[in-house]
Every structure is written in structure tokens, then in C-alpha cells.
């Protein structure tokens, strides 16, 4: 390699000792090709059954890291070589994070589609179903009711609290709220469920209490801090000039907030609320504790057990009947439904943020 630099005296001295442009890319492709060749030979010789794509990519990437380090060290010196090695490692870290995401989405779609596409899946409950068939209607209804109720509780409280923090709060109380909202975002979801259970078991003196509204309370405990944080960020973005202009015209403070500050930041707040819904809609543990599980429809939040989608997925997996494949299929189909809802909410939230956010001046 070093012969390249010595044998061509006409090279610009500033670019000498540098690998040619795109060499990293070519080395990567070459190492993947070498790795593919090795695995293909293993396959053809019968040592392993099937061509191992994952092994090819992993082995090829490791080979690339070694090759680019050695190559760069010979041509460019040890400092640049280290830089190239770290670039490769950092990029690899990013790719490693994407692998589980791709794998999860792929397996959920592949395993979930068969049961997802059966005609009864969204039109019936699990009542009196022992084998295959049945549907998730009861769980979808339950999820909509519980999450909707949680949203109804959390959004007013969260929004008002964030208005307090941004517009009114000074001194100790505001500091304490900011701090504990941050701490609350880290409460384990199951603790929220246990809290709701302890609260209502004491209130109604019923040690085996299960009902949908309790689930909504548990989800609110998880949702409020998220709503406060995101709304607070959005309210802070409203320029002070707008508030001052309103005050100068003699508008009372509360009307300024309602008519000027909130409309300006509405897109961001809606985005935050939707992201927080997406966060709690997949919570399983608190609902398993306080909302319980059932195979029947239940439209009443305030009495009897209520099924929700995440709990449906868990119970289908955990309590498999005689025809276990039917249960596993339904679990995956439920997971697919759940992922679709969460992705839809996330996508919509981003789109709202993108469409309605105040345009930056040119």
C-alpha cells in the first residue's frame, strides 16, 4: 500500500497519505463480498444448511472494520485509522439498533396477518370461543374506552398544569412541580396499576376490584407527566411579543392565554397529546392489574372486568387452550393491530406537527 505514496512523486503533497475518495464504500462492499463467498462455500460444501444472510452481513462488517483500520493505518497513519474505525463502529451501532425494529415489525406482520385477515376478527368477541376464530372487538372497544377516558382526565389537568408552569409559576411550587413531573415520567407502569388498585380497593372496600375506570386512572398517572412536558415545551415556544401585544391592548391575562397563546401553540400541543396516547395505549401491566381480562363485551367503564388490546395479546399467549396455535395466532394478530394503531398515532402526530407548525421566516 505504501508504494502508492512513494511511487507517484507528482501527487499533491496535501492529499498524499490519504485513501482515495469512496474507498471506505468499496472496502465495505469488498468485505461483504468476501464474507458472502465464504458463507456460500460453506453452504455448497454442505457444512451448514441454508445460506446465512445475517451471518454474511455481520461477519462482513467485522471484516470491514479490521480491513479499513489496517489499510488506513498503512496509508494515513494511526490517528486517521482510529477515526475511520470509530466511524465504522458508530455507524454499526446505529444499524444494530435498527435490526430489532425491523425484526419485530417483520415477524409481527408475518405471524399476525393470517388471523388478522379472518372476517370475524374485528366483528366478534372471544365469548364462547374455544378453538380458532373469534375476534378482538371486545378488546378494541375496551382499549378505546379506557384510553379515551384516560385522555379526558389527563389532557385538562396536564394542559392547565403546563400553563401554570409557563405563564404563572414562579418560586418553589413551580420548581417542585417541574422536578416531580420529570420524576413521574419514570414511574414503572405496573406501580401505577397497583396504585389504582390500592385506591379503589380501599374506597369501595372490595379486595378483588376490577373495572375499566380504574385502568383509566392508572393510565392517567402515566399520561399526565408526558402531556405536561410536551405542552410546556410548546407553550415556551410562543414568542413573548404576542403576549405583550395582547396586554398592551388591555386584554386580561386569562383571555390572552386562551385566545392568543393556546391557538398559537395548538398544533404542538395536539402532537404531544397524540404521542402521549400512543405511549399509554400499549401499556399492559396496569390494565392487567386493575381492568382485568374477560372474553365478553363490556361497554360500562364503571362495572365488571374490561378487556383491552395489550391484555388480550398477553392472555392469548399466557392462557393457551387445547388448540394452542389458534391462540398464538390471535396474540400476534392483536400485536399487529396494536402496532398499527401506535404507528398510525405517531405518524399522524408528526404530520400535524409538520403541517400546522408556524412556518419559519425566510
Amino acid at each position: 500500500m505504501s508504494s502508492v505514496t512513494e511511487a507517484s512523486p507528482l501527487t499533491n503533497s496535501l492529499t498524499a497519505g490519504k485513501l482515495p475518495r469512496r474507498s471506505a464504500l468499496w472496502v465495505l462492499l469488498a468485505s461483504w463480498a468476501v464474507s458472502a463467498a465464504v458463507f456460500a462455500m460453506l453452504y455448497l460444501s454442505g457444512a451448514v444448511d441454508g445460506f446465512n444472510i445475517v451471518g454474511t452481513v455481520v461477519f462482513g462488517t467485522v471484516l470491514y472494520c479490521v480491513a479499513i483500520y489496517v489499510l488506513s493505518r498503512l496509508v494515513e497513519g494511526s490517528r486517521k485509522a482510529k477515526d475511520r474505525l470509530m466511524t465504522a463502529l458508530v455507524t454499526a451501532a446505529f444499524v444494530i439498533a435498527l435490526l430489532p425494529l425491523i425484526s419485530i415489525i417483520y415477524t409481527t406482520v408475518v405471524n399476525g396477518l393470517p388471523a388478522f385477515l379472518t372476517p370475524t376478527f374485528f366483528t366478534s368477541s372471544q365469548r364462547n370461543v374455544v378453538g380458532a376464530g373469534g375476534g378482538v372487538l371486545h378488546a378494541v372497544i375496551g382499549t378505546l374506552f379506557v384510553t379515551g377516558m384516560a385522555t379526558l382526565i389527563s389532557v385538562p389537568i396536564g394542559l392547565l398544569a403546563s400553563i401554570y408552569l409557563v405563564e404563572y409559576g414562579r418560586g418553589r411550587l413551580a420548581k417542585a412541580i417541574t422536578f416531580f413531573v420529570d420524576v413521574m415520567t419514570g414511574i414503572p407502569s405496573i406501580v401505577a396499576g397497583l396504585f389504582a388498585f390500592a385506591l379503589f380497593a380501599l374506597l369501595f372496600d372490595d379486595p378483588g376490584i376490577r373495572f375499566g375506570f380504574g385502568g383509566a386512572i392508572a393510565l392517567s398517572v402515566l399520561m399526565i407527566p408526558v402531556v405536561v412536558r410536551s405542552s410546556e415545551e410548546m407553550l415556551k415556544l410562543v414568542p413573548n411579543e404576542l403576549r405583550e401585544a395582547a396586554f398592551a391592548l388591555g386584554v386580561p391575562k386569562w383571555l390572552t392565554i386562551l385566545k392568543v397563546v393556546l391557538p398559537t401553540s395548538m398544533a404542538g400541543i395536539v402532537t404531544g397529546v397524540m404521542l402521549s396516547i400512543a405511549r399509554v395505549i400499549g401499556e399492559t401491566a396496569p390494565l392487567l392489574i386493575i381492568a382485568g381480562f374477560t372474553a365478553s363485551m363490556n361497554y360500562d367503564l364503571f362495572s365488571e372486568r374490561m378487556m383491552t388490546l395489550p391484555v388480550f395479546v398477553y392472555t392469548q399467549y399466557a392462557n393457551q387452550g387445547a388448540d394452542s396455535q389458534a391462540f398464538i395466532d390471535r396474540a400476534w394478530a392483536g400485536a399487529l393491530t396494536l402496532i398499527l394503531i401506535v404507528m398510525l398515532l405517531n405518524g399522524l402526530a408528526r404530520l400535524i406537527a409538520y403541517w400546522f407548525s408556524p412556518k419559519l421566516g425566510r
Binding site: K82, T87, V90, T91, A92, A93, F94, A97, L98, P100, L101, S103, I104, T108, I157, G158, L160, A161, Y164, E167, Y168, A174, I177, F180, V183, G186, I187, P188, S189, I190, V191, L194, F195, L199, A201, L202, P207, V221, P225, V228, P252, W254, L255, I257, L258, G282, T284, A285, L288, I289, V313, Y314, Y317, A318, W332, A335, V342, M343, N346, R350
Partner: protein
């Protein structure tokens, strides 16, 4: 006459203002009240567990503390393992998005990692059982064959792959997004002048990161890791579904017998619990709450102390 005497001009108090401002104060205080209520109600409901006798537990456990001990161990063991795996990768991803990826792509790549946070934990559980455990099981057999002399890796290897190590991998994937998000924010706050100064002195990109970005971001990395630890400690469904538990303290990573975690133990036993059994599970929940609260508070204190002199303001 009022204007002449007053030193400051006071705005007229309107009913609307009063109602609105007190509504916001009440909502804000309600959040503190909820946090206090969580602690109080859990404590009240778990009091019977602390005096529970040997009859209330299965097996030869005599009191609450010997019941919760192995669970606390399992919780911390799996969470710390997950953290050890997640932090280096998360720092790598954060650096990739903040300093290596093309500027135009960086934000979309950030969304991709955030999508991982949107996957419900019960789906992670299904994936851990259906995909990850069968995938890693052959490796476990090999590792036990080769490195079985090292106590934590001693055999016999689990035949299903549903070990505490698999759980830690799943947990690591689940806490990646939050650690990445915070590290990314902190790395982006590095004073541009420090970076440019390092580059101007001839540093390569990696040397610039080591000299300017990482020292600046260290407190952020620490607190992000602690927030990730808090998440991993409280994660329920993925552990409950993947782990094959046993009620003892077990250091071996790859065997079929594993210490359970507090959260997973609650989820597995709560639906069938009755009488004092419910109180015992609530008491373990209280222990979990206190542990995560302390971890989270410490993390937030570190983050907040950094805010004052970060490059952002």
C-alpha cells in the same frame, strides 16, 4: 386617589383571571398530590404484608423480606446487565445522529430510533419468546461448553433460551431509545467553538469528539443511563413473558433457573392472588416504587445541575 398613593399600579382583578389562575394552580398541585397518593395508598395497602407469617407464603419462606430479597436481586441484576449492553450502543447511535450522519437525514434517523420506543412492551415480550430466544439458544450452548468454568456462565444451558440474559437483551433494546434521545440532545449542546477549535488544531473527527463532545456530555450520559436504568427496573411484560423464573438468588446467566424481577412477579401472580397475597404483591410494588423513585430523582438532579451552564442557554 388610589393611583396617587400606590407605589405600583395594580391591574384590576377580574373574576375570569382569578378562576383561571387558581384552576392552573390546582392542576399543578394535583400532580404533586397524585405522587404523594401513590406512595400513601401503596403503603397503607401493603402494611399487612410486613407482618405476614410463614403461612402466607409458598415454600419455606418465613417473612416478607426473604420473599422480596431474590426479587430485588433479579430486578437489579437484569436491569444492570441491560444497561451495560445498551449504553455503549446508545452513545454510538447518539453520536451517529448528532455528528456523523448527513445533516438532512439526521432528524429522520432520530425518528426511526424513536419508533422503537413506540413498540408496546407486550409485543417485545412476544418477539423475545418467538424470535430472540430460539435465535440465541444455540449460542448459549456453545458459550456454556467453552466458558462454563467462569461461574456466571456455568451450565447447564437453558434449552429454551428463556434466561435472564435474553431478558437483558430485550430490556436493552427497550431502553435504547430513551438513552439515545437524551444523549443526542446533550451532544448537540456541545459549544460549537470547542468543536471548531479542536478541528482547527488538526484533530480528526473522533479526536474532536473525545476532546470536546464526550467530556462535555459526560454528566448527560450518566443521567441518561440512570433514566434508562429506571425504565429497565420497572419493565414488566417483556420480563414476565420471556423469563422462566424461580424464587431464589441465581447468578448464572444462561440456565433454565433465573431470579424473577419484582414487576414480572406481580404481573404473573396478581390475577390469581387473594387475601394477604394481594398485600404482599402490593408491598413488593412499593419496594419497586421507592427504588425507581430514588434512581429517577438522582438522575434528574444530575441533569438539572448541568442545565445551568450548558451551551444551550
Amino acid at each position: 386617589m388610589t393611583t396617587a398613593a400606590a407605589t405600583t399600579i395594580k391591574a384590576r382583578q377580574r373574576p375570569g383571571d382569578r378562576i383561571f389562575s387558581s384552576a392552573t394552580v390546582i392542576s399543578g398541585s394535583l400532580i404533586l398530590a397524585v405522587l404523594a397518593a401513590v406512595a400513601i395508598f401503596l403503603l397503607v395497602e401493603s402494611l399487612p404484608a410486613f407482618v405476614a407469617g410463614p403461612d402466607d407464603f409458598n415454600g419455606d419462606i418465613t417473612n416478607f423480606w426473604s420473599y422480596v430479597g431474590p426479587l430485588v436481586f433479579g430486578t437489579i441484576y437484569s436491569a444492570v446487565l441491560a444497561l451495560l449492553m445498551a449504553v455503549p450502543v446508545a452513545i454510538g447511535i447518539a453520536l451517529f445522529i448528532s455528528h456523523f450522519a448527513p445533516r438532512k437525514l439526521a432528524q429522520s434517523l432520530g425518528y426511526l430510533v424513536d419508533l422503537l420506543a413506540a413498540v408496546p412492551s407486550v409485543v417485545f415480550g412476544l418477539w423475545g419468546i418467538g424470535v430472540l430466544a430460539p435465535l440465541v439458544q444455540p449460542f448459549y450452548t456453545t458459550i456454556v461448553d467453552w466458558f462454563g468454568w467462569f461461574p456466571p456462565l456455568a451450565g447447564p444451558a437453558s434449552g429454551t433460551g428463556r434466561t435472564i440474559f435474553t431478558v437483558s437483551i430485550v430490556l436493552a433494546v427497550m431502553i435504547l431509545p430513551i438513552i439515545t434521545a437524551i444523549c443526542r440532545e446533550i451532544f448537540l449542546q456541545t459549544p460549537l467553538l470547542h468543536e471548531e477549535a479542536a478541528l482547527a488544531l488538526g484533530a480528526t473527527r473522533w479526536e474532536m469528539i473525545r476532546m470536546a463532545v464526550l467530556p462535555f456530555g459526560l454528566p448527560g450520559i450518566i443521567s441518561a443511563s440512570m433514566l434508562g436504568l429506571g425504565r429497565a427496573l420497572g419493565e414488566t411484560m417483556a420480563v414476565a413473558m420471556v423469563l422462566s423464573p424461580s424464587p431464589e438468588v441465581i447468578f448464572q446467566l444462561l440456565t433454565a433457573q433465573n431470579s424473577n424481577t419484582i414487576a414480572a412477579n406481580i404481573a404473573l401472580n396478581f390475577p390469581e392472588a387473594h387475601g394477604v397475597g394481594v398485600n404482599i404483591l402490593l408491598a413488593t410494588g412499593l419496594v419497586l416504587f421507592v427504588v425507581t423513585l430514588l434512581v429517577n430523582m438522582l438522575a434528574r438532579v444530575i441533569i438539572n445541575s448541568r442545565k445551568a451552564f450548558s451551551g444551550a442557554n
